[in-house]
Amino acid sequence: MTERETLRLHVPEPSARPGHETDFSYLHLSRAGEVRRPPVDTPAVDTEDLAYSLVRVLDDEGRATGPWASQTDPQLLQRGLRAMMKTRIFDARMLIAQRQKKMSFYMQCLGEEAIAVAHALALEPGDMCFPTYRQQGLLLARDDVDMAEMMCQLFSNERDPMKGRQLPVMYSYKRAGFFSVSGNLATQFIQAVGWGMASAIKGDSKIASGWIGDGATAEADFHTALTFAHVYRAPVILNVVNNQWAISTFQAIAGGEGTTFAARGVGCGIASLRVDGNDFLAVHAASKWAAERARGNLGPTLIEWVTYRAGPHSTSDDPSKYRPADDWSHFPLGDPIARLKAHLIAIGAWTGEQHDAAQRELEAQVAAAQKEAERYGSLADGQMRSAAEMFEGVYKDMPEHLRRQRQELGV
């Protein structure tokens, strides 16, 4: 009789830790232009191949190719490029401000700018995003959100629109279609489905867009959202930003090994796409496709955006402890800003001089916004909202016990 092997627990590992080089072949990339584009009314089950491949438009030479390459207006692409640059400049300046102790904490989206920015430009006014803390690009892509106001929240100063109650990056902009960011992961994903259901209940035309990271897909709210979205054919786009890392855990710990996050959708009866998240044109085209499905009562779409978290999880994190320090430079999908810039130059809609000028102009805009925001204080100088406001807004009307407690504090 042959002896059986004893059981072994499998704990996934990334291919490289600090001091080594990551083998990115696990990403199973498709070539630009290779993946088909089905009609928007395609049955969910027929998208299975799309959930395991990778929709890409831009090739390595910056050319747009294949069925997902649409006649995108160069002006929109220029706008997208500027918004991505603005987002990166904003992040860089805020990181420095955090180091200067002007805010408690910051989270950048370095390397992921294309996803939020291109998606924002694919939505319509009135649509509602339910973002995570790394979708500041949804706000910075818009012209109607004041950067200085965002910074007032980051600085927790006397003009903080969240009145000092919420962490710096957890914005809330109902008027800009941006739901209040929660620090509890995944909760917003099912709420997005509820918002979409409400829009359908009221016979509206607006759609919801829910956001989650690869790590948080392990939460129950992710799976619940897929079920409810499918059951009620909710007008919602379900975005999974797979940036490979959830703080220190590689995406395989969230269940990405040997499969994809997009594949979760197909099994739930949801049309699913896996898309190059660093390819502005692919993000815009896939977002448009999903939005058209949602708006046409054709049901939800799950999109896995493959990207790379180029920076630390937050200012409290040090990724050099758990992954190769130069990992991003080897990431095969590159830098979204450099890729769109190359494309625009290739089609003659942008020049190096224009780029440098835009960079200077945006840096000046962000610096001016920071100067304006700092007029109202920062965490460093303690110029903040009154402690009396701490007791407001717990309920619509302040109950007696909170009045007593405010009195006890003496404010």
């Binding site: 809330s172 099912i190 709420q191 409400a198 009221k202 619940t224 016990h401």
Partner: protein, 354 residues
């Protein structure tokens, strides 16, 4: 919200025509009235659509208002409350049913971290005007998964309102007030009271609501204000602070001991009507806190603390607590667990002997 304390019951009846209703019918009537009045009200949960709920509270509502306003949900409490929060962000007022209070735990994150704090964390940009109904309490041989009274888990959460009616009249008026309220409301329904004022004598038949004055319910719109307690029974010997099914158990104990207890029915457990209970304890000088839930860190502990904080120099005896035991709700031994009239009577006597 009507905060008019001049009206002793806190109720404002705008429709004089009253009909005998069970608590189930009264709750259904509240949802019916609000579905009719406000096109932003939707009702959903497990089994609540076509079938009308396992306790029949939503029977007929889907037929009357259509499937897009009254519908069945997957078995996912987290999903039910999570979608309700999203609907609230859109502008709807969702009234959702958790089939048993014992099942709310998977929705904890959505209730505690989301619904309760959304107004606060977004500085009023978004709110969660949702009502979460859930049958609670034992007495139906439901064992540990169909009998719990988890109110203290909610009262500990800032931003929530926790309500528990004890009779059909209050149930309808409070549910309408809860649906109209812009804060999230946990609406606990003592299931043993659905069909009559059960007083803890499980070996005796229960009087139906049709034979009880509190089963007379206006057909139309009225509210019972949140944060208003009612003096359920006037008395001078001691004050009982309680809510839900224990109101009638306390009444039986008063009747059977001859102790003239003043029974305060909180109705809104938190935030509560502090003045009503403080005034009563200052008058009687003695206090017994009664609830069905487990004792340790139960809401009774908060009530005892509030009474000693506000009435210490008026107290003539230590405050008594009569509660369920600190065990899971047992199945076969449920009546040994339930704090029935005898245990409440013993609490009264202890409070009177010092």
């Amino acid at each position: 919200m009507n905060m008019n304390r001049d009206i002793e019951t806190g109720a404002t009846a705008m429709n004089a025509g009253r009909t005998p209703m069970t608590m189930i019918q009264a709750l259904r009537s509240a949802m019916d009235v609000m579905l009719e009045r406000d096109s932003n009200v939707v009702v959903f949960g497990q089994d609540v659509g076509y079938f009308g709920g396992v306790f029949r509270c939503t029977e007929g509502l889907q037929k009357k208002y259509g499937k897009s306003r009254v519908f069945d949900a997957p078995i996912s409490e987290g999903g039910i409350v999570g979608t309700a929060v999203g609907m609230g962000a859109y502008g709807l007022r969702a009234v959702v049913e958790i089939q048993f209070a014992d099942y709310f735990y998977p929705a904890s994150d959505q209730i505690v971290s989301e619904a309760a704090r959304l107004r606060y964390r977004s500085a009023g940009d978004f709110t969660a005007p949702i009502t979460i109904r859930m049958p609670c309490g034992g007495g139906i041989y439901g064992g540990q998964t169909h009998s719990q009274s988890p109110e203290a888990l909610f009262t500990h959460v800032c931003g929530l309102r926790t309500v528990m009616p004890s009779n059909p009249y209050d149930a309808k008026g409070l549910l309408i007030a809860a649906i109209e309220c812009d804060d999230p409301v946990i609406f606990l329904e003592p299931k043993r009271l659905y069909n009559g004022p059960f007083d803890g004598h499980h070996d005796k038949p229960v009087v139906p609501w049709s034979k009880h004055p509190m089963g007379e319910v206006p057909e139309g719109y009225y509210t019972v204000a949140l944060e208003s307690a009612s003096v359920f029974r006037r008395g001078k010997d001691l004050t009982v602070i309680t809510y839900g099914a224990m109101v009638f158990v306390a009444e039986a104990a008063a009747r059977e001991t001859g102790i003239d207890a003043e029974i305060i029915d909180l109705r809104s457990i938190w935030p509560l009507d502090l003045a009503t209970l403080v005034n009563s304890v200052k008058k009687t000088g003695r206090c017994v806190v009664v609830h069905e839930a487990t004792r340790t860190s139960g809401f009774g502990a908060e009530l005892v603390a509030l009474v000693q904080e506000h009435c210490f120099y008026h107290l003539e005896a230590p405050i008594e607590r009569v509660t369920g035991w600190d065990t899971p709700y047992p199945h076969a031994q449920e009546w040994a667990y339930f704090p029935g009239p005898e245990r409440v009577a013993a609490g009264f006597k202890r409070a009177m002997t010092t």
